[in-house]
Symmetry: C2
């Protein structure tokens, strides 16, 4: 125990860390390592795995220069750093005692004032991207944020934390996942459901965990980190394209679609439940742009086809939240056919918000498919919308936009991954 070791697996993967006591339930051949990132991993040792004792005390992160783990902030410049991009929201809000409501904090100083321990694991460079509640964030803000992320990775950030209001955080995480390519580190969106000057706030624990996750030596995708369950020290790591706010007030409001989250943090231990995208060698880059000429239409009994037609008119795309497997009244076929003839991309999803859309089960789905409706498989309407804005930004040709919509880009089609392997 306490020995610094390096484990090389049969597949050539290298883990370095300090041996720590295993869980009581662990089998004989499982060793538990504390990595430099602060996370523990349990490794199941096979006959082809090689274990070496290393000299010296603190473990070095896998892909980083050795860092002395001190709280001496004066040596910050040459130590690995993460960027914290602040956009506003409850995590950076406080109660306005005049009105009793919550308002965004206005200055970086106020934010740092809330989280004095944020940089205890290493330097954090803060950038205020916006200071709005998340219902005010627009697609052009997604683009600015993506550009800012590319910039800070270009300057050498090890990872990025984005503080964000929870209301539209899942829209933003999906948009960033489609916009960003070759990420050399994690982009962790984090919010809180209770403002940081309230006793029950989840702001402190969420942001501290997000900062740790941003230093993860291997993760290279856009994720959302929020509380999981009712315990104070459990957190879920959701894939940015599979997550949704499913409760208006609980701390564990976020859920991954149709299964467990990508990863779970329980106290000191991070466990991935599925394959995650690994850090690229970079440089991070922005893939194209967004075209915001699209929107989401909720189908319901009594929805007037003329009104729906007028709502869609003049846009390049629409995501319909249909019923069940992706249905709507066939009264709407005339405007759908006209819109498609004019080059509008019509995407069908399900308002059930779980389970697939599927045009092949009922006659209605077949009719809509024949009319040219594109079925968005198991995408949330919000994710389909973010992807549509991105796909529209790639090309003016509807056929090319449709092709992009169906091509997997950021782990968004869970139904295509039948076998989920541990990462």
């Amino acid at each position: 125990m306490g020995q610094l070791v390096q484990i090389t697996t049969g597949e050539g993967r290298v883990w370095r860390g300090t041996l720590v006591p295993s869980h009581e339930l662990s089998g004989e051949r499982i060793v538990q390592l504390k990595l430099e990132s602060g996370y523990n991993v349990g490794l199941h040792l096979g006959p082809s795995d090689r274990v070496e004792a290393l000299p010296g005390a603190p473990a070095a992160p896998e892909k980083e220069a050795p860092a002395t783990r001190t709280n001496d902030r004066s040596t910050a410049e040459d130590r690995p750093w993460i960027a914290l991009l602040s956009t506003g929201g409850t995590i950076a809000s406080r109660v306005d005692y005049r009105t009793g409501g919550v308002r965004p904090v206005r200055t970086e100083r106020e934010v740092l004032g809330f989280f004095p321990d944020l940089d205890k694991d290493g330097p954090v460079r803060m950038v205020t991207v916006s200071d709005r509640l998340s219902e005010e964030i627009r697609p052009e803000d997604w683009l600015s944020l993506a550009r800012e992320i590319v910039r800070v990775f270009g300057e050498g950030a090890q990872g990025v934390v984005v503080t964000h209001g929870t209301d539209t955080m899942a829209y933003t995480s999906a948009a960033l996942a489609f916009l960003l390519e070759d990420l050399p580190g994690p982009v962790v969106l984090v919010g809180s459901q209770r403002s940081p000057d309230r006793p029950s706030s989840d702001a402190f624990t969420n942001i501290v965990q997000a900062a740790r996750l941003a230093r993860h030596p291997d993760l290279g995708e856009v994720v959302v980190l929020m509380h999981e369950g009712l315990s104070d020290d459990r957190f879920a790591v959701h894939r940015g394209t599979r997550v949704r706010k499913m409760h208006s007030s609980r701390r564990d409001a976020f859920r991954s679609r149709d299964g467990p989250p990508l990863g779970s943090i329980d106290g000191e231990t991070l466990t991935f439940c599925g394959d995650f995208r690994h850090r690229s060698n970079g440089p991070a880059r922005l893939s194209g742009t967004l075209d915001p000429r699209a929107s989401i239409l909720w189908f319901h009994p009594g929805l007037d086809p003329l009104r729906a037609a007028a709502f869609v008119k003049g846009q390049r795309g629409v995501v319909i939240a249909g019923t069940g497997l992706g249905h709507m009244s066939l009264e709407h076929l005339p405007w759908i056919r006209s819109a498609i003839a004019e080059g509008t991309v019509v995407v069908m999803t399900t308002q059930c918000l779980a389970g697939p859309s599927d045009p092949y089960v009922y006659s209605t789905g077949r009719e809509l498919l024949r009319a040219g409706v594109l079925y968005g498989e198991d995408l949330h309407p919000e994710t389909a919308y973010a992807k549509l804005l991105w796909a529209l930004g790639q090309s003016n040709d509807p056929a090319e936009v449709r092709r992009r919509m169906l091509e997997e880009r950021a782990g968004e089609f869970e139904a295509r991954h039948q076998a989920v392997e541990p990462g």
Copy 2:
């Protein structure tokens, strides 16, 4: 065991049934009765409860004339009967082997052909109200269905089963709950997720349970009955105003909002988890009508305020599915203020689909409230929409419509029932 007894509680409630063995975990003072409806109830006996042994064998239902429990269908006319109103949907669908898709069955004969055992507990009178998949059902169909329900209760039905496509069943159940008053028996909506000519179909078990529940001696409200969990013999009874289809393909697709369903059926036992509305003395009646000049608008980042304004223009009401506690960008304030000034009722709900809406937590909610937006508490957007059509049908005065929207009518505001007592 096997003795027919009558139990009169301290509060004057009377239960008659046959004593059956209690569950192993039941305490000494809990007796289990099999009622004539076929359901078992567990009764916790208090000191003021009175138990009498009754002569004769089968128990009589509380409010019905004694019925001999035989399969002799020739005596059907003078035995208690239920009505089965068929509207179409998967439960009355079959695979079209030409296309491989599912199509509605077209005749009552076809429906009866599927469910030969439907009337084994007593007569069932069938009425075909429509034969459409549920995405084709419109608010005017909700009205026709409500009128038909009033008619069959008027003719003496003990209860009503409505077979319905699952896609929009929760919209219909909410609309019926707001439209119908003084129900002298249950109205049980039932559907299936797999068509009855497929081996995995849930149509048979669901419809048989629905027919039993329609004979319940005490229930007098609109409910949805569907599978619960993965077992074949568990069913959930959802309050018609608190339920939503939350999965596109699973048999247990329906969920009650923010808590357990109103009741659960496990094999032979029906257990109510909350207070239910009891049978009225009738006669059932229709309260007013529906005004369909309203719709649901899904707010999302990038939603153009001018487009939203045009979508709402000319309608008497709109339900907004806002983010989080019921928010949207304040860019939309100008059209909201104009719409309200013109007499449109603007109702806010949450697209999270769980948890309350609440205008008092954030500055955005307060601004929307000040502009005259009505917060729909913890109503699903669909329930709020059905209630809005009903409220608009009650009055031309927006103030009166708003008053109706906030007045509880059919157990729709769960947040107001902090203490839930067993029924």
